[in-house]
């Protein structure tokens, strides 16, 4: 082997690696205006909206799979794939008829058997689905376009469950795909919605492509969130994953992307100054910041210790740490439900209002018997929101005279460790920080974090009989007034027992180039009605 042979070999190998296997779609210049380039909130790492319930998966899935009903901006379920429904007087038998002309992306018609299989898979994973499943007598296809759900007792929130936008949504898939074990991932992505998923172009962590499904039959009504006519105005939607916010901001300014789902607050002033960019609140339902205290171990197994923390915490401190000085991005939240939604209430929220009383909080903490034991506080440093809240909490606990064991770690570790029921010194914990999408907190149905049924509750395992009683009251409520009354009582009971500590309500912006029109506010980015000029 001589020098020339080695050099030729190296050159050949390098060239092969650079050109081989790197095929990418060549987009003609004219087609650029028909392609919407979008930077989502996170990486689309998997694409099974039932198996993986992260919001980014739900957002992508809402383009590809349609639902039987869709919740509109007034929180009402509207027909989507369904043409009509009937319910018997005793409320136990629901009969649904599908719209005609519905097709899957492989050209096959959408049939009742597909719906039955899809709902069966969904009901095995969704909290509302599990409730319906527990009441289910049978779920059967009557004919190609009609199916029937027979229950042992009425479930008044049936249509809401089928149309809700909380993850997992009741997406309709072909029967062969929907028959996959709900705890295993699907590998075929044949949808029923207005856009097709281009699996061959999917580079997880970098890019996901969706193409307009020309055989989709939109409804005639005006679109409103997940309801109404889903008219797609572009040929392709490209999701470009950008982990670095500064890069996304620069790419938007440079016209390399068209729409950035959630610019961080620090970069918004720069974007607002750019004459080619529009900035507005993206999701009006926002988020609720929270930290949860472990009911199983001292000091927070005593309600006095939990109330002492609540009495001392300043939501403004938390919100400023998250959103900075922009007052339009946050609100105090003396309760647990999303502001500006029909069931919002402040009943029982006095402890979170007004001037903070540190002395009274210290006194209450002393009454709880707290004697300086370490409080293990888990804080994910790789999530700006939890990091900001964690720093404020550490300061708060120190002011209360608590001995803080501040565990700075990453979200993956927090997610794993928070499930440990062992004592804090043996791998367990006393508190951790998170936040909830406002869309999940509009009522108790999707609101896992508000449940307080002890061992079966979410992490922290809160027990509050009053809270649980009012959750049941809400499910049984027959009209909005009854629902509001139940939620008021629920809010008070949950605050009295401190199911968790709400740290405030915050919003975030979305930003897009001015040659893009039709961007609307919603609990998820809505691509129907969005168009782009050259």
């Amino acid at each position: 082997m001589d020098r020339r042979t080695v050099l030729k070999g190296l050159a050949g190998a390098g060239g092969l690696a650079l050109t081989g296997g790197l095929s990418a779609p060549a987009i003609a210049q004219g087609a650029a205006a028909r392609t919407l380039r979008f930077v989502p909130q996170a990486n689309l790492a998997n694409f099974d909206p039932i198996w993986g319930t992260q919001y980014v998966v739900r957002n992508a899935a809402a383009m590809v799979w349609d639902t039987l009903y869709g919740i509109d901006s007034s929180f009402q379920p509207q027909r989507q794939m369904v043409e009509s429904e009937e319910v018997t007087d005793d409320g136990t038998t629901w009969t649904f008829k599908l719209r005609s002309g519905l097709k899957f992306h492989d050209g096959a018609p959408v049939l009742s058997k597909d719906v039955v299989a899809s709902l069966t898979r969904w009901a095995a994973r969704d909290p509302m689905g599990l409730m319906i499943k527990a009441l289910q007598q049978e779920l059967t296809a009557v004919d190609d376009r009609t199916f029937k759900w027979v229950l042992k007792q009425p479930y008044p929130k049936m249509l809401y469950a089928l149309g809700k936008n909380n993850s997992p949504c009741a997406f309709i898939m072909p029967e062969r795909i929907a028959q996959t074990d709900p705890f295993k991932q699907i590998s075929e992505y044949v949808g029923s919605g207005p856009l097709k998923f281009a699996k061959s172009e999917w580079v997880p962590g970098a890019k996901a492509v969706f193409e307009k499904f020309t055989d989709y039959v939109p409804r005639q009504e005006k679109p409103s969130w997940l309801a109404g006519g889903k008219q797609v105005m572009v040929d392709r939607v490209e999701w470009v994953i950008m982990p670095d916010p500064a890069t996304a901001a620069a790419a938007l300014q440079n016209g390399e992307i068209d729409w950035w789902e959630n610019p961080i607050a620090d970069l918004v002033p720069v974007l607002k100054k750019n004459k080619n960019i529009s900035v507005d609140i993206g999701d009006p339902l926002g988020n609720i910041g929270s930290f949860r205290m472990n009911f199983l171990y001292p000091p927070f197994n005593d309600v006095k210790a939990r109330r002492a923390v609540l009495m001392a915490l300043s939501q403004e401190d938390y919100m400023r740490a998250i959103v900075g000085d922009d007052n339009s991005l946050w609100k105090p939240l003396p309760g647990y439900f999303t502001p500006d939604t029909p069931l919002y209430t402040e009943v029982g929220g006095e402890i979170l209002k007004g001037k903070r009383d540190l002395d009274a909080a210290k006194k209450l903490l002393a009454e709880s018997g707290y004697s300086g034991q370490p409080v293990t506080c888990l804080v994910a440093q790789d999530q700006p929101i939890t990091k900001a809240m964690g720093d404020v909490t550490a300061d708060l606990l120190k002011k209360l005279g608590m001995n803080v064991d501040f565990v700075a770690t990453d979200w993956g570790t927090v997610g794993s460790r928070r499930a440990q029921k062992t004592p804090p010194g043996q791998g367990g914990w006393n508190m951790f920080h998170t936040w909830h999408a406002g869309a999940d907190c509009v009522n108790p149905a999707p609101y896992t974090a508000i449940r307080a049924n002890g061992d079966k509750a979410w992490f922290g395992w809160p027990t509050s009989a009053g809270t649980e009683k009012e959750v049941t009251s809400w499910f049984e409520a027959k009209n909005l007034d009854e629902e509001k009354a139940a939620i008021g009582r629920l809010n008070k009971a949950a605050i009295d027992d401190v199911v968790y500590a709400p740290t405030g309500f915050f919003l975030s912006y979305t930003a897009w180039r001015k040659n893009v029109s039709g961007v609307t506010k919603g609990p998820l980015p809505l691509f129907w009605g969005v168009s782009k000029s050259a």
């Binding site: 296997g21 990418a24 295993k184 962590g205 790419a251 993956g412 997610g415 999940d440 979410w458």
Partner: protein, 313 residues
Amino acid sequence: MLSYILRRIVATLPVMAIVALFVFSLLYIAPGDPAVVIAGDQASPEDVERIRQSLGLDRPFLVQFGSWVWRILHGDLGTSIFTNLPVSAMIGQRLGPTLSLMIVTLLLTIVVAVPLGVVAAWKAGSLIDRVIMGFAVFGFSLPVFVVGYMLAYIFALELEWLPVQGYTPLTQGFWPWLENLILPAIALGCVYIALVARITRAAMLEVLQQDYIRTAKAKGLGQGGILFIHALKNAAVPIVTVIGIGIALLIGGAVVTESVFAIPGLGRLTIDAILRRDYPVIQGIVLLFSFVYVLVNLMIDVTYTLVDPRIRY
């Protein structure tokens, strides 16, 4: 030579086996759980456990390790827990951008750093030398992401000469491919250029003291010929060594650079996989990087014979 190369390749097998065991053990004992990430924030502990079972993460360490090694021996790196795609396919998707970035950075480094080092040695002690070495210290000191943001601001946002982010495959044209790599390569190459320039200077200073250089000057050879033909060739061994070792630097730097410039390469895949605890992907990438590193060392040894005929294996 060929038998030497074969022996070295065979010798990599135990190294790879140790790396495999180390990586697998480390991930096993590391905190975190991919099932938690998959299930989402609202999932119940029961759902998380069901997902763990379906992924086989509840099996004992030895069973999991044995099954992974068995697959590796059959040329199967496994399937990503999250994407359900083969790890080899995911690595294949990401290899091109990272390889492109590394090649452009490497070329840029050689073209810039070696002449700078040669000139600095030639003008040792002068203002030119000090300026070049000052730049080298500057290059060492600046973090990759700071250089990246500065370059993007100046050349993409202000001057609009180059794109801020992304990657275009070479199949779509040479210039589209190159324009996406210029800024990342400069950002990534800063430290590397500084390192190679300093080593080149040091190696050249030693060679320039040799008798044969004085003889060459006495014979009336031009300065360029003396520096770049006679001296540089004899100073090449340490330079080649540093360029080779620096490839490890590039791999590390590529993680940051690919994030800053949104290049869909192996660096970003690594970070994503670690944050999500996508064990098969992490294991596959670490094995690949280890193999590349071993291979680079072998190439360095072979290159010695090309630049110095006295070295024979």
